[in-house]
């Protein structure tokens, strides 16, 4: 019997998937309905906005660290 599961397909690269899985684990497995493969996840319908917000905060924390040294090195070159 064919089964249909309502949800949101999230397609991302493996690194992002790892972060999503981590967020899911820390929040009592409420986000992920099913891990489909390395780059695809099925997320529960009502949770997508919360997940996006959480992912964003995780990412901005990491991205900022990268950007700072970059702009410094630019300045150095100019001098």
């Amino acid at each position: 019997m064919v089964k249909a599961v309502k949800g949101i397909l999230v397609q991302c690269d493996e690194s992002i998937k790892a972060i999503i899985e981590k967020i899911d684990k820390e929040n009592g497995n409420t986000f992920i309905l099913e891990a489909l493969d390395d780059e695809n996840l099925l997320i529960s319908s009502g949770k997508i906005n919360e997940l996006k917000a959480r992912l964003k905060s995780v990412l901005t924390d990491t991205v900022k660290e990268h950007e700072e040294p970059e702009s410094n090195s630019d300045n150095n070159e100019m001098r």
Binding site: V2, K3, A4, G7, I8, L9, I16, L36, L59
Partner: protein
């Protein structure tokens, strides 16, 4: 086929009874045929129109080349969903189709004449008092009202413009209900849906707004009359019940009226008369304040049921404001120049570009990471921005291949990804198929329908954006299975 997918989606969600009543009106049937069906479906209808007996499925299949199977499936699905073609229940084999009787007789009437003339509108008396309106005046009215709506959506509540074209609070409410805008601190802010709306061609925009209007008709009744009732409480609330079937018939009828001709309001039903007020506010009809017994359809109305191309290719149309000549020049250094003085277009640009100087006929600015990400945050996607730039590119830009500098296009996409690292698609995951055959054929069917997003052949699962047609398909399979 994507001509008016919004209308199609709306219709498909209606119960069968609605169709039965809708198809009694020749203008509706004609509009459905002209506007909403793939070409193959039109052919099938025209071929079957004068057939007295149900038509065998086998015979139908021989008309269509085997390699056109995806188109055939598409055409048949649409026809069945709109209740135009029905399977004749008895006998179950061989399967045969029949045109909906109401649909067929209305279409015959529309094509060959006859029947009551009211259905295509009653022209007003030539000697009726009051000044006549010219086509130019009507175009001006339609353009003013429609631009005011768009401009309101873009969220720049500049006094100067709102004085020129004034849209009522009812229309504003409607835009909010349609989720084109959200109110933030008393100010309208555009949403993703709103931006998609802006990017559409004028005709599609009109339909999109009308669908929202139809969908909300039952809950709000006439948006204008309601506010009036509150003003003078004496009015009978009961008469405000808006019947969606009458509303739809009226819209389809408007599509077959003639521009520049005034029509009598006497043949309209109560619901339709109420609608006039709202449509007047949208700029779709002009209902002269000094002659309440008449109304004029504007160009927005008369092109409702024609194809998009006709509006574009019509040089006389003054409504080509957002579909006509392009004016945007985008350079590889992300600088953007636009030859325009339209406050609307400038406001749209300001949504995703950093504008820094404005001359009488030219604005210039730059696409920056910040400006793009600001737009992305509002829910506007990179693809929408790129689409907008491409469709509005200056003729000189169009000589380039590709039109937009690839580096800038890539950069816009990268900026978006930086803020949003995943792609989310709502829909349904289908799994646990009985055997490989069932999986393969169902997935193939989903792919032909264009709803398949992702598949995993090893695990026998796939993901689709819509499930209704697949459900039908699977149910059909089940009934056919014993025969195999």
């Amino acid at each position: 086929m994507s001509l008016s997918s919004a209308v199609l989606d709306y219709l498909q969600a209606q119960p069968g009874v609605t169709f039965k009543r809708l198809y009694l009106q020749p203008p509706t049937v004609l509009a459905v045929l002209r506007r909403m069906l793939p070409h193959l479906a039109k052919n099938i209808i025209m071929a079957m129109l004068f057939m007295p007996e149900p038509f065998l499925e086998e015979d139908l299949l021989t008309w269509i080349r085997a390699e056109a199977r995806p188109q055939r499936d598409e055409a048949m699905t649409v026809l069945e969903q709109l209740h135009i073609l029905t399977l004749v229940p008895e006998p179950p084999t061989p399967r045969a189709y029949r045109l909906n009787t109401a649909f067929a007789s209305s279409l015959r009437q529309a094509l060959m004449g006859g029947g009551s003339t009211n259905s295509f509108g009653v022209p007003a008396d030539k000697d009726a008092p009051g000044p006549k309106r010219t086509v130019e005046e009507l175009d001006k009215w339609a353009r003013k009202q429609w631009e005011a709506i768009l401009y309101y959506m873009v969220g720049s509540a500049e006094r100067e413009y709102s004085r020129e074209g004034n849209i009522s609070s009812g229309t504003r409410k409607l835009l909010e209900m349609g989720e084109f805008i959200i109110m933030r601190g008393g100010r309208a802010d555009i949403t993703k849906g709103g931006f998609t709306f802006l990017l559409q061609e004028a005709n599609a925009q009109v339909w999109t707004l009308l669908i929202v209007y139809l969908e909300n008709s039952e809950s709000v009744s006439s948006i204008h009359t309601k506010s009036k009732v509150i003003e003078n409480q004496s009015k009978d609330i009961e008469q405000l019940q808006m019947d969606p079937v009458e509303m739809l018939s009226f819209l389809f009828m408007l599509g077959s009226l003639e521009l520049g001709q005034d029509y009598n309001t006497e043949s309209l039903t109560k619901t339709q008369f109420h609608m006039l007020e709202d449509l007047h506010d949208f700029g779709i009809v002009y209902h002269p304040p000094d002659a309440r017994g008449r109304f004029y359809p504007t160009r927005l109305a008369t092109t409702l049921t024609s194809s998009d191309a006709s509006l574009l290719s019509n040089p006389n149309s003054s409504l080509s404001m957002n579909s006509g000549k392009g004016s945007i020049i985008l350079e590889t250094n992300h600088r953007i120049y636009t030859y325009t003085s339209s406050p609307l277009q400038i406001a749209v640009l300001a949504l995703f570009a950093n504008l820094n100087s404005c001359y009488p006929n030219l604005v210039s600015g730059k696409l920056t990471k910040k400006s793009i990400q600001r737009a992305v945050e509002k829910g506007i996607t990179a693809d929408q921005i790129i689409d907008y730039l491409r469709t509005h590119a200056h003729p000189q830009m169009l000589k380039n291949q590709p039109v937009l500098p690839p580096t800038v296009v890539d950069q816009i996409r990268l900026w978006q990804i930086e803020g949003d690292r995943m792609e989310a698609t709502p829909g349904f995951l289908l799994k646990q198929f009985v055997n490989a055959n069932e999986y393969r054929e169902t997935a193939q069917y989903a792919e032909n329908l264009g709803v398949l997003v992702w598949r995993n052949d090893r695990e026998h699962m796939f993901f689709v954006t819509r499930i209704e047609q697949l459900q039908q398909y699977l149910a059909k399979r089940k009934t056919q299975a014993p025969r195999r």
